[in-house]
């Protein structure tokens, strides 16, 4: 009898939804894109620029989330990988005159190759030794631009100017360039997140988590530990490279000073603040590290403080937030959001359940 009863459509859809990861991720991506579009057209030029900055920061932070959260490696050098992507974009746009999409793709691929080479070294290193090596990378690689033999190509300390890529004319003559930049960055962010989310729930993602939990057990289970680690490093570097390419596109600049050590540390902070291993967390984290300095500067400006005090308010606020969030939310903001969600669910359910029992 039960076979004959047609199942309600909602149940069929729910099952599909639960079974097909790709469908789930694509639906979230479509909703995300629509939300991003509505947000971008309601903002003014300055806030659209911030939206673009948040988007490329989130791309790099998402790459770092996959590296640290899934395969358990640490990198303090993702700022340097962003520099590789930015310089690739600047050089390709200047010398090859390719379309922007192709340039970004090529920059991503170049950085992935660089990341694979670094990953080969990184796969031998653990914990603080990997931290030290990537820290030296963050400081050492951007300084290459200052080397006198390469100064002609890489532009020395001034860096390279990137030719602006204006929005297509079909959008209208007065279309704000910042909104166009935000759209490009948002599209890249959504594509990156869908790809990374699929990767995380694939076989390779499972291997990565196994490697993170126990390398020996992973090896015994037939997972090639070093290969998985190198692959993860390359993927993570690719995300950083794309972020760097977008950085060059938005800021029309690639210079050593744009990729300081503090950028690498801010990316790590974004990934950890949001909650390691959570791609949604990478977005919150990026919002915080991008907007907090501007917000606190605005607040400080309105408070009529002396110049040296007001100039340093953003740094102090940033430090306090980093310390506070880490002490209060052990698993990052995403952990806090999950906890709040569960609490809300329980508080709503309790009166309902009581009503049912009467």
């Amino acid at each position: 009898m039960t076979i004959a009863t047609p199942r309600p459509l909602s149940a069929v859809l729910a099952e599909r939804w639960n079974r097909s990861t790709l469908l789930r991720h694509l639906s979230i991506a479509v909703v995300g894109l629509a939300g991003y579009y509505l947000l971008s057209i309601s903002l003014d030029a300055f806030h659209d620029l911030q939206l673009a900055q948040i988007s490329y920061t989130a791309i790099a932070a998402a790459g770092l989330t996959v590296l640290s959260g899934l395969s358990g490696q640490i990198s303090l050098g993702h700022g340097a990988l962003m520099a590789v992507g930015a310089y690739s974009t600047a050089l390709l746009l200047e010398h090859q005159h390719w379309k922007l999409g192709l340039v970004l793709l090529a920059s991503t691929a170049i950085t992935a190759v660089v990341g694979a080479v670094i990953g080969l070294a990184a796969a031998r290193l653990r914990g603080p030794y990997l931290a030290g090596a990537t820290l030296a990378l963050a400081v050492g690689l951007p300084s290459l631009a200052n080397y006198h033999e390469l100064r002609n190509v890489l532009g020395g300390a001034n860096g390279l100017l990137v030719a602006p890529a204006p929005p297509p004319l079909s959008l209208g003559e007065t279309f704000p360039v910042e909104r166009w930049q935000a759209w490009i960055c948002g599209l890249c962010l959504v594509i990156t997140l869908v790809l990374l989310a699929n990767l995380a729930s694939s076989r390779i993602g499972r291997d990565m988590r196994l490697v993170r939990e126990d390398e020996d057990a992973a090896a015994l289970a037939g997972v090639h530990v070093a290969r998985t680690q190198v692959f993860t490093f390359a993927i993570s570097a690719a995300a950083a490279g794309l972020a760097g390419g977008l950085f060059a596109f938005v800021n029309q600049l690639a210079s050593p000073g744009a990729f300081p050590l503090s950028l690498s540390l801010a990316l790590l902070a974004a990934a950890v603040l949001g909650g390691l291993g959570s791609l949604a967390g990478a977005i919150y984290g990026s919002i915080i590290v991008t907007l907090l300095p501007t917000w606190s500067a605005d607040v400080a400006q309105s408070a009529h403080l002396s110049r040296s005090v007001y100039a340093n308010v953003p740094l102090v606020a940033y430090g306090v937030v980093l310390i506070g969030v880490m002490i209060l939310f052990p698993s990052g903001l995403q952990g806090g959001v999950r906890w709040a969600g569960r609490w809300l669910w329980v508080t709503i359910r309790r009166p309902l359940a009581r009503k049912d029992s009467h």
Binding site: G132, A136, S143, L276, N312, V313, L315, Y318, I323
Partner: protein, 292 residues
């Protein structure tokens, strides 16, 4: 040949500074398994405190003493208040907290002292040994730097190996649970470890200040090279910090002298990678045993 000697001597001096910072990081790593990025900010603040003492007419020596004492206090306070809550969590939480402390201290220093670099007086003459025809790239002040760092290393080695408090600190770091059962106040030992490390860091800050000047971000490079030296030596080993500091100081001095100062950060990366490719746990670090 003269140039080589000069570069070697300059390398020994900067190597001594790197070794001191590396030692501060190693002490904290051994005690709490945390890489302390805040060390750069902590030694910056204590150097500013020393600078303030000199500004108000204090002598170099009074400033040095005040800086070291404030370093001891600052280290203990940071460990007790900010690090203790995250001590047993994932190492990344602690890394982000120490980074937060670094940023916070830099911001506070900027608020109080402003961003302009200030000059810090050296203890002794900075005119190199030798006569008017040829002066070595090694001055009485450099000799003082090297001697102080070597002296501090010797004293710390004695404390750790020959005194009861040193034994208790090593026990607390090596096996906290067992040490606690044997009556060692493990928490207190960890705080003491941080205090000692920050004291050594404060000393390094005052020693390096005449060359780097004093500003909120002046010691970033010192921290990076100190950490590089600690990793080269092996984070578990105080002698490793000394050897790592000395070899990094020499290597960077040669890179700067023969290839150009632009390449120094890249040189540090190359030296570090070469060492780590041969010995993934540093020169003196024990290879990590793995148990299935």
């Amino acid at each position: 040949m003269e140039r080589f000697i000069d570069l070697t001597l300059a390398g020994v001096t900067s190597g001594a500074i790197y070794a001191a910072v590396a030692l501060a990081l190693v002490l904290i790593w051994r005690a709490t398994r945390i890489v302390n990025f805040a060390q750069g900010g902590m030694l910056m603040i204590t150097t500013f405190i020393g600078y303030t003492v000199i500004q108000h007419g204090g002598s170099y020596w009074l400033a040095l003493a005040v800086a070291i004492v404030s370093g001891l206090v600052l280290g203990a306070v940071v460990e007790r208040v900010l690090i203790r809550p995250v001590e047993n969590r994932s190492p990344l939480s602690a890394v982000v907290v120490t980074f937060g402390v670094l940023v916070l201290l830099q911001g506070l220093a900027g608020m109080i002292f402003g961003g302009t670099p200030r000059s810090y007086p050296p203890a002794f003459s900075i005119i190199g040994f030798g006569n008017a025809n040829h002066r070595l790239l090694f001055a009485p002040n450099d000799l003082w730097v090297v001697l102080v760092v070597v002296g501090v290393m010797a004293v710390l080695a004695l404390v750790f190996r020959r005194t009861s408090i040193g034994l208790r600190m090593r026990a607390a770091a090596f096996a906290p649970e067992v040490a606690r059962l044997l009556g060692v106040r493990v928490g207190r030992m960890l705080t003491l470890g941080w205090a000692l490390a920050a004291g050594v860091g404060a000393l390094a800050g005052v020693l390096v200040a005449p060359t780097t000047f004093v500003s909120p971000t002046a010691f970033d490079a010192t921290l990076v090279y100190g950490f590089t030296a600690a990793v080269i030596g092996g984070l578990d080993s105080p002698p490793g910090a000394v050897v790592g500091g000395a070899s990094l100081g020499l290597a960077l001095s040669y890179v700067s002298g023969y290839l150009g100062s632009d390449l120094v950060p890249l040189g540090a990366l190359v030296v570090l990678m070469v060492v780590l490719m041969v010995r993934p746990s540093g020169l003196f670090g024990a290879p990590a045993g793995r148990r299935v």
